[in-house]
Symmetry: C2
Subunit: 604 residues, 2 copies
């Protein structure tokens, strides 16, 4: 037995107890002839007092930061109590100690505010993980998984493991593949999700399945994406959309309660995909703050035409497909420098707008715009009224092609909210987005692609539309008039603070409809049979209605931890080139391994 207690455990009630502790040296402070050492382990920090004699012994054999110590001693009351730590009332009068292991000088000190920068942190991740800032993330991650498991268990879900070595059926994202030595020339794929397996489990009658499971996507990594990531993956049989929304609304609230001790007021807001786009410019709106879009001109606009609001003489508005605005409170006094800054911001290539128009709704009620020569006061008033601006607001207006402009105003909205501190990490706003389109149009190939995935069912009322129409698009220009363009999916996303944290759908469970879907996505019968024959086959033997959802576990943990970065919530993450710089992977392998696998490198 190495220790009797942990470094977070001893209290004033333990005084005079003889104890043994182990841990790492956080700090050493020589104080005249005695020495104070803060000893750290997973559970806390305990102050050690080395007397004169022991202190002398340190002269010959000095200790250092991150040495691993075992100390025996007696618990004693501290004269100088530390209210910031749980063991702050006591210290250990050390009688003997043993260095269990020494340490080189760490490349950065193990403290919340010193991490030595990203490269060092990743190379020495085993030291980075000692820092309290990271440790609490790893602990939170465990708490979230445990809460999810407990909730799902209470609701009769069963954790069933699905295979990792499966079949490559690339649809959308690229698969990671694994050459099979025993079946030369053939490959397994790592799952992008357990989608088809969980559907098979529904066919098998396991009507409530879950798994917290690794998934893999071989994509070019944008910031904060990982080639391997974790999902809370769930599926239910004999359910409609409403059953699923209720069940997982319950789960997220349970997690909030267990992990954050936060009672989330029910029910979650629900918003259609179209309303989200119209009011927030994207399908994962951050609703911690309002700042809704004013759709002055847009193909998405359904209310009476507001074109009259826009002066016929101002070409920027006249010639734009869309004119979209937001009213930003408290910014009417922005200086020329500040509005110029915003203009530069929207002109950056990532945003890609040509310019920014604005109206200052001054605190005295007057209106002053950047396009005064085209608008008279009355017109500005109407404009302001439509944008629902208040005195003190700054109305920001973007004009251009619908898609780009909407994306830009959505980004601008978030940017302004960040500037104004509206996006508080400790405030949480959840909502469901529903009624997604089933298909998206693929311009390049003039065909449909699945917005969610090929297993998502259309809304019940759209099934006939899908079955009875030919998916082929005769007139590419008028693809929006194709009946498929209007089909809604029985799909839903859960959004938290502007992030999609979960998404799912009611699935197709009829062979005929599934075949139609594969055909709509441009898959030949043979291809569909080769890739998904097992699923089509299973649908012939009594497949029940079913649906499910998957939560992005890494992201969920990050947001609950008040962070935007998932990397700090993964024990051993990879960098943006998909490398683990600590273990130096991927790496070359032996010629012998390649030979056994019957593959050769093909480097040009």
């Amino acid at each position: 037995m190495y220790r009797t207690h942990t470094c977070g455990e001893l209290r004033i009630t333990d005084i005079n107890t003889e104890i043994t502790l182990t841990g790492w040296i956080q700090t050493i402070r020589k104080f005249g002839s005695i020495t104070f050492i803060d000893l750290r382990d997973r559970y806390g920090i305990t102050q050690l007092l080395f007397n004169e004699k022991l202190t002398q012994s340190l002269d010959k054999n000095p200790l250092g930061r991150e040495f691993v110590l075992q100390v025996k001693g007696k618990v004693s009351e501290r004269s100088n109590k530390n209210k910031n730590i749980s063991t702050g009332d006591i210290e250990i009068l050390v009688s003997e100690f043993k260095v269990l292991n020494s340490s080189a000088i760490p490349p950065f000190t193990i403290q919340d505010d010193t991490d030595g920068g990203d490269d060092l942190r990743m190379k020495y991740r085993f030291l980075d993980l000692r820092r309290n800032a990271i440790k609490k993330n790893i602990e939170l991650r465990y708490a979230v998984s445990r809460a999810a498991r407990n909730y799902l268990h209470q609701n009769n879900f069963i954790d069933i493991e699905t295979p990792f070595l499966i079949k490559s059926t690339p649809e959308g994202a690229r698969d990671f593949v694994v050459p099979s030595r025993m079946n030369a020339g053939e490959f397994y794929a790592l799952p992008q999700s357990p989608q088809t397996f969980k559907q098979l489990l529904m066919v098998s009658g396991y009507d409530r399945y879950y798994q917290i499971v690794k998934c893999f996507r071989d994509e070019d990594l944008r910031a904060d994406r990982q080639p391997e990531f974790t999902q809370i993956d769930c599926e239910m049989a004999f359910v409609e959309q409403e059953d699923i929304l209720q069940m997982f609304e319950g789960m997220i609230k349970y997690i909030f309660k267990e992990v954050k001790n936060f009672e989330y007021a029910s029910p979650l807001e629900r918003m259609t995909w179209l309303d989200a786009l119209r009011n927030y410019g994207n399908d994962k709106p951050d609703t911690r703050f309002e700042m809704k879009l004013a759709n002055l001109k847009s193909p998405l606009q359904t209310s009476p035409d507001r074109g009259g609001l826009l002066s016929p003489g101002f070409k920027v508005f006249d010639e734009a497909e869309s004119v979209l605005a937001i009213s930003v409170s408290g910014c009417s006094d922005y200086s020329r420098k500040q509005t110029d800054e915003l203009t530069e911001w929207v002109k950056r290539p990532q945003i890609g707008m040509k310019g920014l128009a604005f109206i200052k709704h001054n605190t005295d009620g007057t209106l002053k715009s950047s396009f005064d020569k085209f608008f008279n006061e009355e017109q500005l008033k109407q404009f302001s009224a439509f944008c629902d601006s208040k005195p003190g607001d700054l109305i920001l207006i973007l004009a251009g092609k619908e898609e780009r402009t909407r994306k830009a105003i959505s980004e601008l909205r978030l940017y302004m909210a960040d500037r104004l501190g509206f996006r508080k990490p400790d405030e949480f706003k959840l909502l469901w987005i529903t009624d997604f389109p089933l298909f998206e149009y693929d311009e390049e190939n003039n065909r449909w692609v699945a917005r969610h995935h090929p297993f998502t069912s259309p809304k019940p009322e759209d099934i006939e539309v899908m079955i009875n129409n030919d998916p082929a698009i005769e007139n590419a220009e008028k693809y929006l008039e194709h009946p498929y363009a209007k089909i809604k999916a029985n799909a839903y996303d859960m959004v938290l603070n502007g992030n999609e944290i979960g998404g799912g759908s009611i699935r197709i469970y009829q062979r005929e409809l599934q075949e139609k879907m594969f055909a709509a996505l441009g898959m030949s019968k043979e291809e569909a049979q080769h890739k998904f024959g097992f699923l089509l086959g299973a649908f012939e033997y009594g497949a029940p209605p079913h649906g499910g959802i998957a939560f992005g576990f890494d992201r969920l943990c990050a947001i609950l931890g008040g962070s935007e970065s998932i990397r700090d919530f993964i024990a051993f993450p990879k960098n943006n080139s998909g490398r683990d710089v600590m273990i130096d992977a991927p790496s070359t392998i032996d010629e012998k391994q390649l030979e056994e696998l019957r593959i050769k490198l093909n480097l040009k």
Copy 2:
């Protein structure tokens, strides 16, 4: 809402309630003008009664087995109660029904005793999983994982996910590898276990780690091995072997209690590796029954030489390195045919012995051997006394080279126990095996290999022996005299009913000792640095003493389920060629995928 209740839920107290059920048709029995249908779901079976009118409607649109139904109706008391099912007191007077999905005629009926054979079962695994016999295995698997998680949680363990895309460091088993598209010419490997990562977590201070995690080994599959398998993987810091044995003895007992409602009497038996070999012939003895080996002659024998027992004239014994025997109770009356059968059994290539000698210890106390002309009665008596045989026993004797003979007698012991019904699937016998040798001798390369793995620590008293001696083996003949041959590992296995269900060790945590270990295994400094530089590096920054264990989760579940086969405890297993015949994986991939990965096939 598809249903108000499940098919396992309704009781006599629900009579007259209007309910809606969904499920699969198990059986249809027409009974005059009415029809009985057994409706099945995950939770049970409920009897439905279709009245005359509904029965007539079935003539036009017949139902069939495995159709998915939704029925509305009233709960009614059954006249003919079925005590075998939980809903046996009631039936549903169906008022309306809807076919949610039809079913083709299944290739085998969904019943415990009809599975259509292995090939069909695997191809139609989604139907096989509907069978109660498989369902209860999958449920048991979940119960075991949940019990393990709960126990570990209560004991302050934290579930931390380790990466799946790691570095290939083949030691022993082959790695599955994954070509990296973003790092052309380089490969990830899938983990054979999270070994090095869990050790790094100990260095990071997470002193109690666990994970229920998939691992991968690209081995030629023997029966009942899977290329992907699941471990309960655990590691602890600041522990000695005794701490780990206590902790996981607790876990296995907790699992037995939770899953089998079985109080396992404490403490687990402990046996050294040498005693296991001597008394049972292998290091995972089935101790549900005795039938210990009599070591008449063997290099492993430590007691005074028993050579005198063996007649100098019987060449089979005289020339053998080892003569080993077991006394099998109740078999003294075996006929010539039966003993011939046993002789044939030990001569099979899998066992590989030249013959079998035996002594019948008759119920009247007389002894009759198969080698009577070489032994007089007194010698047979001594022989019998040494074998501790009783009247009615049949003493079976094998002679030959030590290793093969010991393996053979061990197999024969199990075979006889099987014949005699001594290996009861509902009886459980757990034990710890300790004091393994650290190294095994690799004859082919005249060097040492790690018996467990390169991270296992020698016993504290053997550390100096290891550090101060050159691992090189000068004289291959006398390798047993090399100091390394006697080094004991700080390692332990948990054995259940003759199966190793878990194994682990106290790890090396000192850089110098780890380097010596790598050198002992024939690894150059450069190779060690290339493969395990990150671990050696981590040991320089305050690595604590630590150790752990991993349980074979699939095997553990199978044994708890009273089965020897792990396949039936895995939802989607692979066959002995590593194929998933249901989804037909592995399979060929597109030329485009190969090009992107910068690899080519190399099929000769």
